[in-house]
Symmetry: C2
DNA sequence: AGCATCGTGTGACAAACGTAACATAAATGT
DNA sequence: ACATTTATGTTACGTTTGTCACACGATGCT
């Protein structure tokens, strides 16, 4: 249901949320900090904006704020693939998911799911 | 050698330049206007910014400004594909170009060229 | 000669993005 | 109890992007 496309920085956050599920800002930060050199403030700003956009859901757990991805990994990545295919490569259909088999982001089951997803809306 | 990645809007302009070669701002505009609803001013601003970034080259022809893509289509698209593969899908290598065979942007010869390009720098 | 048109340069302005600092209150350590 | 660390809310600021408008000079039509 999240509609907005994530920016590059936001994608980093989303990947962390997908990888480790619901977590606090501190937890998200400690992980992404191994890959970016954001300050904790930056991580938090990103989370806040993503909540606004609906990319992330915020929940209060006993006074601590927890964040989770607003849309499933396969679903969002699917949209991004589709968008890239159409806007950049000008393909009508989508890319064959088999092309992604080496992805470190999606395992085999997820690739299958993605296949189904992409074929579903072959009628846009 | 153009380094900056084009934004979505800029990509539209580039595609027009690739498709019809060097042309005036007016010519670019008349074409892109069939697909966007930009004002002529908008087209011109995009062209100017793209010249700054090195995405487009500007040349004076008898007092009239002509614009041309600063980087070949296959080359730039190749970079974009590679970037998407790595940043979004987390593939080490690149996507198999065979996946793009239905592209309206690249013909068969260009796809071959792209293949070569992508394999070349398999050692980054 | 005078007016409409076209190309060019320049300025504008809001939204999105990248990147953070500051203040304050609650939790924790000693 | 007091100092320190932590979490949350708020504010900030420069850059990029999307979209244009305006003013001026050259060209061309009447």
């Amino acid at each position: 249901m999240a509609d907005q496309a994530p920016s590059q920085a936001e994608l980093v956050v989303l990947k962390q949320l997908w990888a480790s599920g619901e977590q606090s800002a501190r937890e998200v930060h400690d992980q992404v900090a191994t890959v970016t050199d954001w300050s904790y403030s930056t991580t938090r700003t990103l989370l806040a904006r993503m909540v606004q956009k609906g990319l992330v859901e915020k929940r209060d757990s006993h006074g601590l704020a927890l964040y989770a991805a607003g849309e499933a990994k396969v679903s969002l990545i699917g949209k991004m693939v589709k968008s890239f295919s159409q806007k950049v490569l000008e393909l009508d259909g989508s890319l064959p998911v088999s092309a992604f088999s080496d992805s470190k982001l999606l395992d085999e089951g997820e690739l299958d799911e993605l296949s189904r997803l992409l074929e579903e809306d072959e009628d846009d």
